[in-house]
C-alpha cells in the first residue's frame, strides 16, 4: 500500500483532501529530481539558514559522561530550530504548485515561526493555528510570528495544545485546499507528509555523517534525538539506519510514565489512526485520543510519525523517555557546562545521555541533536522554577 512503513502510515483523511495529497506527492516527486529546485533549496539552506550547522565537541559534557559527545547544532539554524529545513522545502513546493497561502499548526511555536519565515521569504500568506495553552506558554513565539506577517489563530477546543491546533489546521485546509498548502511541521499526517518531511530533515543526518568523517575519521558509536512528532529524529536517523550506529529516540515522560501526564507515545501508546496516519497513539480503551502532557510544548503530542512506529517494532531504533524534571536538569547541566541553552525539547535527548553512555564504551563518540535553542522556553522555565 501507498505511503506505508510496514503497517504504519497511510492516508486517513476526508475525501476532499485526497486530490491535494496526490498533487503534493507529484510535486514532491518531480522536485526531488529537478536540479533547479534542488539548487534553489541548497542555496537557501546555505545562505539563508546557515547550513551546514556545526557539529560541536562538547568537551565538559564529554568529561562528565566519559564519552566523546558531539552536538549537532540545529539551534544555530536560522529561527533557532531544525523546523526551517522543512518549511523552506514545503514553501518552495507551495510556489511550485501555484498556491498562494501556507497554513501550519504549531506547538512550541518553532514550526509556526519557521513557516511564517518561509512565507515571508516567498511572499506567501500565512495562517498559523496554535493551541490556546501553547499561545500562553510560548508567548514570545506568537509575537515573532506576527512580526513575520503571519496571523496566529488560538485554538481553545480540546486540550488547547498541538493536537487541537492540528485538527483546526486540517479543518481549515479542507475549506481552502484549492489555493492553500498545509505545511505540516513533523513527520506525521497522511502520506506523503511523513516521507516528505523526513527527506527535508535528512540534511541533519547527512551532515552528521560527513562531519563525523572529518572529526572522527569514521562513524560515531551512537546518535540520539528527542521525539515529538519525530522530525528532527527522523532527519538524523534516516541517513543512518543502514549503518551500525546505535540509534536512540527520547520521548517526553512528563510527570512520569505511571500516570497519564506524559507524551510517551511509542512507550505507552497503542496503534491507531490520528491526523491521517496509522501509528502509535495515546488513547483510551474506547479509542478516544488522550491529551498528552509535557513541560515542552513541542513534545506535547499524543501521536508520532509512522516511520518511528516501524523502527520501534523492528528494533532498529531504541526509544527511551525523559521526565520534565530530567529535561530541566539536563538543560541546566548543558547551559553551565557548554554555554549552550538547549530548547526544552532537545534537553530531553541530553537527559538520556546517561543511558546511551551505559550502553557504549569509554571514549565512544555519541552524537546528540540539539534540535533548537532554549530562548523560547526561558519564561516557562522561570515560572516553573519560581524565579521572579
Amino acid at each position: 500500500m501507498k505511503g506505508r512503513f510496514g503497517d504504519y502510515g497511510g492516508q486517513y483523511v476526508p475525501e476532499t483532501l485526497m486530490h491535494a495529497l496526490g498533487e503534493l506527492e507529484t510535486a514532491f516527486r518531480e522536485a526531488s529530481t529537478d536540479p533547479g529546485y534542488q539548487a534553489q533549496l541548497q542555496e537557501l539552506l546555505t545562505n539563508y539558514v546557515g547550513r551546514p550547522t556545526p557539529l560541536t565537541e562538547a568537551r565538559r559534557l564529554s568529561r562528565q559522561f566519559g564519552r566523546r559527545i558531539l552536538l549537532k547544532r540545529e539551534d544555530l539554524a536560522h529561527t533557532g530550530a531544525h523546523k526551517i529545513n522543512n518549511t523552506l522545502g514545503q514553501a518552495l513546493l507551495c510556489k511550485r504548485m501555484g498556491k498562494r497561502r501556507l497554513i501550519a499548526e504549531t506547538g512550541a511555536g518553532q514550526h509556526g515561526v519557521a513557516a511564517a519565515t518561509a512565507a515571508a521569504l516567498f511572499g506567501l500568506e500565512c495562517d498559523v493555528f496554535m493551541g490556546s495553552v501553547d499561545v500562553e506558554r510560548q508567548a514570545l513565539n506568537v509575537y515573532r510570528m506576527q512580526l513575520l506577517g503571519a496571523q496566529v489563530h488560538p485554538v481553545s477546543s480540546g486540550s488547547g495544545t498541538l493536537k487541537d491546533a492540528t485538527n483546526a489546521a486540517l479543518r481549515e485546509w479542507v475549506a481552502t485546499v484549492e489555493d492553500t498548502h498545509y505545511a505540516i511541521g513533523s513527520v506525521v499526517g497522511p502520506h506523503p507528509f511523513p516521507t516528505m518531511v523526513r527527506e527535508f530533515q535528512s540534511v541533519i543526518g547527512r551532515e552528521v555523517l560527513s562531519q563525523c568523517r572529518d572529526i572522527l575519521g569514521g562513524e560515531p558509536k551512537a546518535a540520539i534525538a528527542c521525539v515529538g512528532g519525530g522530525s528532527n529524529a527522523a532527519g538524523l536517523m534516516a541517513p543512518l539506519v543502514d549503518t551500525d550506529i546505535r540509534l536512540y529516540g527520547v520521548e517526553a515522560s512528563g510527570q512520569g510514565l505511571d500516570g497519564l501526564e506524559h507524551a510517551a507515545t511509542l512507550s505507552r501508546g497503542v496503534p491507531g489512526v490520528l491526523h491521517g496516519a496509522y501509528s502509535y497513539l495515546l488513547q483510551d480503551e474506547e479509542g478516544q485520543v488522550r491529551e498528552a502532557y509535557s513541560i515542552s510544548a513541542g513534545l506535547d503530542y499524543p501521536g508520532v510519525g509512522p516511520e518511528h512506529a516501524f523502527w520501534r517494532d523492528s528494533g532498529r531504533v531504541t526509544y527511551l523517555t525523559a521526565t520534565d524534571r530530567e529535561a530541566l536538569d539536563a538543560l541546566h547541566l548543558m547551559s553551565r557546562l557548554e554555554g549552550i541553552i538547549p530548547a526544552l525539547e532537545s534537553a530531553h535527548a541530553v537527559a538520556r545521555l546517561d543511558a546511551v553512555a551505559r550502553e557504549t564504551g569509554e571514549g565512544d563518540a555519541i552524537v546528540v541533536v540539539v534540535s533548537g535553542r532554549g530562548d523560547k522556553d526561558l519564561d516557562a522555565i522561570r515560572k516553573r522554577e519560581g524565579v521572579a
Partner: protein
C-alpha cells in the same frame, strides 16, 4: 443491508427523494438520542445516521464537534451499540453508522463491524477513511452484509472517481462543499460536475450532505438532480433546542421541502 437496498430501490421507483437524518449517539444521553432518531424516522427520514462520538472529529464543524464533546463522557462503544439496538427496536428504517476510524479500529475492525451489524447497522460512513484505505473495511463489512458508503467531494477527479463509482454498493455520499459540516446560507454548486461524471459509471443513488439544513435548501438539491440529502448539524441544533419533538418537526419541514416539488 437488504433494508437499505430495499429503501433505496423503493425510493428510486417512486421517484421519492431520500432523506438521511444524523444525530450523535449519546447527545444528550443514549436514550434521548435513540428516541430522537426514531422520531426522525417517524417524521419522514428514510435513513438514520447514528454518529459515534470521537475526540478529534476533523471533518466536523462547531455544532457536531460540540455534540461529540457532550456525548463523549458517557458514550463509548457499548453505548453506541445500545443506541443502535434501541433505534432498531423502534424503527425499521435502515441505519448508517457515521464514525471516525480510530474508535472503530480500537477493538478490532472485524469484531466491531460484526457487533454493529448484529445491533442493526446497515452501512458504515467513515469520515476520515479515504477511498484508498477502504479495502479491508469493505471486506469486513461485506462479510456482515453491510455497505461502506464512499464519498465524493468537489475535488474528486480522474480515475479515482471511477474506482469510487465501482465500489458503490448502496449509495454515494456527495460532500456538497469545500469544508467541514455545518449549515451554510449559500449552497455551493461545485459538486455538481463531479456528480455528473460519477453517474456515467454507476446507477447508485447520490445523496448530498454538508451545509444543508432546511426544506428550501433540500428542495434545491432535489432540483439539482440529487437523489436525496443528508442533514446533520441542523438536527443536532434542533435536538439542543427542543429534543426529539424539535427534531421531528425539523425533519417534517425538510421532508415537505423535498416532496412538494411536484
Amino acid at each position: 443491508m437488504s433494508r437499505l437496498a430495499d429503501t433505496l430501490r423503493e425510493a428510486g421507483q417512486a421517484r421519492r427523494a431520500l432523506l438521511m437524518a444524523y444525530l450523535c449517539a449519546g447527545d444528550p444521553s443514549p436514550v434521548q438520542s435513540a428516541q430522537a432518531l426514531v422520531a426522525a424516522a417517524e417524521a419522514g427520514a428514510d435513513i438514520l445516521e447514528i454518529g459515534w462520538p470521537f475526540s478529534d472529529p476533523v471533518a466536523d464543524g462547531p455544532v457536531i464537534q460540540a455534540a461529540s464533546q457532550r456525548a463523549l463522557p458517557h458514550t463509548g462503544r457499548a453505548e453506541v451499540l445500545e443506541v443502535v439496538r434501541q433505534v432498531r427496536a423502534g424503527s425499521q428504517a435502515p441505519i448508517a453508522l457515521l464514525g471516525y476510524c480510530n474508535p472503530i479500529l480500537r477493538h478490532g475492525l472485524q469484531e466491531t463491524v460484526r457487533d454493529l451489524a448484529s445491533a442493526g447497522v446497515d452501512a458504515l460512513v467513515v469520515a476520515d477513511l479515504a477511498f484508498e484505505e477502504t479495502a479491508p473495511w469493505r471486506e469486513a463489512c461485506q462479510a456482515q452484509g453491510m455497505s461502506v458508503v464512499p464519498f465524493i467531494a468537489p475535488t474528486t477527479q480522474g480515475p479515482r472517481l471511477e474506482a469510487i463509482a465501482a465500489a458503490a454498493d448502496s449509495f454515494v455520499y456527495a460532500v456538497a462543499l469545500l469544508g467541514v459540516t455545518g449549515q451554510r446560507l449559500e449552497q455551493s454548486a461545485s459538486i455538481l460536475p463531479v456528480v455528473a461524471r460519477l453517474r456515467q459509471h454507476t446507477a447508485a443513488p447520490v445523496l448530498a450532505g454538508f451545509g444543508i439544513g432546511d426544506g428550501e435548501q433540500a428542495a434545491l438539491w432535489r432540483q439539482r438532480g440529487l437523489d436525496g440529502v443528508i442533514v446533520g448539524s441542523a438536527l443536532v441544533q434542533a435536538m439542543v433546542e427542543g429534543g426529539a419533538q424539535a427534531v421531528g418537526a425539523k425533519v417534517r419541514a425538510i421532508r415537505s421541502g423535498l416532496d412538494n416539488l411536484g
